[in-house]
């Protein structure tokens, strides 16, 4: 065998070896997510694998959107709470946070994810945050190499924990949820291993600045719905809501039924609700515009309802609210 042939075979083997190793690592770690989910990939690694709902909001783009500017001008907002949060934590929601990922799980007797978990990406002054927490009676603790700040327990016994996960990344939740988030990342046993949920995330994350995905059946089971409603609801496995906020709001609500017959039933129910809405909204131009923007779609097990609310329609909402307030007065 000549040297040229040997080099060629070594090159081929290297390509095969690198690809197989990458695939194997991804297979065991549950990582290497979809391209479009990449912006939140590192945050999702902190979300425990048993979470039934995950949500994302691009705080930066929503805060800077034309819609918020218009709404802020039309409706006076209560900024006292925001200011209080800034004084207590040192975090300015408008400027310091880029985006957040929130997660929650339904009751699990073994390890409850009570209160949910929020992972926020932004610019945080660790020293200032820690000093502020100490001023307010907080305690600082280290857990598996991550610094955690526990707030003082309230009268009802609630205690919040903030952990510095990485530079510019914090987790907020109860002590248990934050510890489980750190464990999820360290053991690679995170929500990223849930390929079904990740596929939906990958699909909706690319064009929306706010979205949520969840296991509908798990949440409905915990929601203590009245038997009459629960028995008539078609079996839905996954739901997702995704929207893009800028001048207006465009979004899609999607449900994945367990089978095609259930999806057909759900489609009929949604059509009925839309027809009823159109009838009711005949005398109300704002509601009429809202109802007309609703479009049902989806094939097979998927039922989707998309909507687009232009800025003009949204501008009517504060006027309606004002008129309603005058009527009350």
């Amino acid at each position: 065998m000549t040297k040229k042939t040997r080099y060629f075979m070594a090159g081929s083997s290297a390509v095969l070896g690198v690809g197989l190793c990458a695939g194997l690592v991804a297979f065991y770690a549950g990582g290497f997510e979809a391209l479009s989910a990449a912006p939140v990939a590192s945050e999702l690694r902190y979300v425990p694998a048993d979470s039934t709902v995950i949500a994302y909001a691009d705080v930066r783009s929503i805060m800077d959107s034309d819609l918020r500017t218009q709404l802020k001008a039309a409706i006076p907002m209560h900024e006292q709470g925001q200011e209080e949060f800034r004084t207590q934590t040192g975090i300015d929601i408008e400027r310091d946070i880029d985006y957040i990922v929130a997660a929650g799980a339904t009751g699990n007797t073994q390890a409850p994810l009570a209160g949910g978990l929020v992972v926020a990406r932004g610019r945080f002054n660790d020293t200032q945050l820690e000093a502020l927490a100490r001023e307010h009676g907080g305690q600082v603790e280290e857990y598996k190499g991550k610094r955690m700040i526990h707030s003082q327990a309230s009268e009802s016994g609630h205690q919040m924990t903030l952990a510095f996960l990485e530079p510019g990344l914090v987790a907020i939740g109860t002590k248990t949820t934050v510890q489980r988030a750190i464990d999820a990342q360290l053991t690679s046993h995170s929500i990223t291993a849930n390929s079904e949920m990740m596929a939906i995330v990958a699909e909706i994350a690319s064009n929306n600045n706010a979205w949520a995905v969840g296991r509908f059946d798990a949440i409905a089971a915990q929601a203590n719905l009245p038997t009459e409603i629960a028995s008539r609801m078609p079996p839905v496995k996954w739901f997702s809501a995704a929207g893009h906020v800028n001048g207006g709001i465009t979004g899609t609500l999607r449900a994945e039924a367990t089978d095609e017959a259930s999806a057909d039933l759900l489609r009929r129910q949604v059509s009925g609700v839309l027809a009823l809405g159109e009838m009711v909204a005949k005398s109300d131009p704002t509601a009429g515009a809202l109802i007309k923007s609703l479009q049902m779609s989806g094939t097979g097990k998927t039922v989707a309802l998309s909507f687009a609310l232009p800025a003009e329609v949204l501008a009517l909402i504060p006027q309606m609210a004002g008129a309603h307030q005058q009527q009350i007065q």
Binding site: T5, S12, V18, A29, A34
Partner: protein, 293 residues
Amino acid sequence: MMEPTTAMEPKTALAPRTPPPAPGYLTSSLRVMDLSIGEMLWSRRTVFMLLIVGAPVLIALILRALVSLGAPVLNGPNNIRMTGPGIFGLMIWIFYLRFTVPVLGVFYGTSLIADEVEDKTITYLFSRPIPRGAVLVGKYLAYLVSTIFVVLPSVMLVYLLVVPIQGSLGGSFLDLVKDLALLALGLSVYGAVFAFIGAKFKRPLLIGLVFIFGWEQVAIVLPGYLKYFTVAYYIQGLVPHAMPNDGAMSLIQNMLRETPSLATALLGLAVVWAVSLALATRVVERREYVLEQ
């Protein structure tokens, strides 16, 4: 007392030299393989092979670039959105299983002996003290190594480029391993079949092309037992991806599709491979190749 002999004394008789023992079948095959790999890899045929396996990589690269730039290339008909793993599955079917594997099998398999005959170099190989069958087996092994080392890295590059588009590398890893094994199996079985055709018939390339683009395409969609006499029937039964509906033949095949079980498919392929290779070596050992002047 013996008289001492000196170095100057001329030798009166030379001891008869015994020739070294002829190498065994396996050693001979490996030696022929070692000689043939370089010849196969650096021939004009390799340019053709690189074009065949390079096309899917180029397409994957373009697709990845378009997706990164935000082009709506993933929106399929009927509001169906394609995902990376789905596209990878389609590429395995259309580019590799239906085209690359059988075509490389034909071009390389039929030329194992035919090239030596055409170049009039077969005499040199057959005059060596090695079994004639070992020449064919060695060349067959060289074909396998050459094609596997070109086709599988191409599949790997397509996997790394395409699967992360709305999919995950980890989620498709097991399918990739199955695909790689299946392609290697396909190359070995098609290679054995065409090695026999190349050793037995006068116009092996033509017969090979008729076999893959004529016989296999028709027999696999016909109801009845004819499909059992194709390689594609057993290979397609092992593919971990859904069969694409990309034409009338695919539609008919999907409607009449009868998928063999894993054991049946593996057994079928093993039988075809063993019988073809045994027949090919038998033909090479018995046939008198007359070189045209």
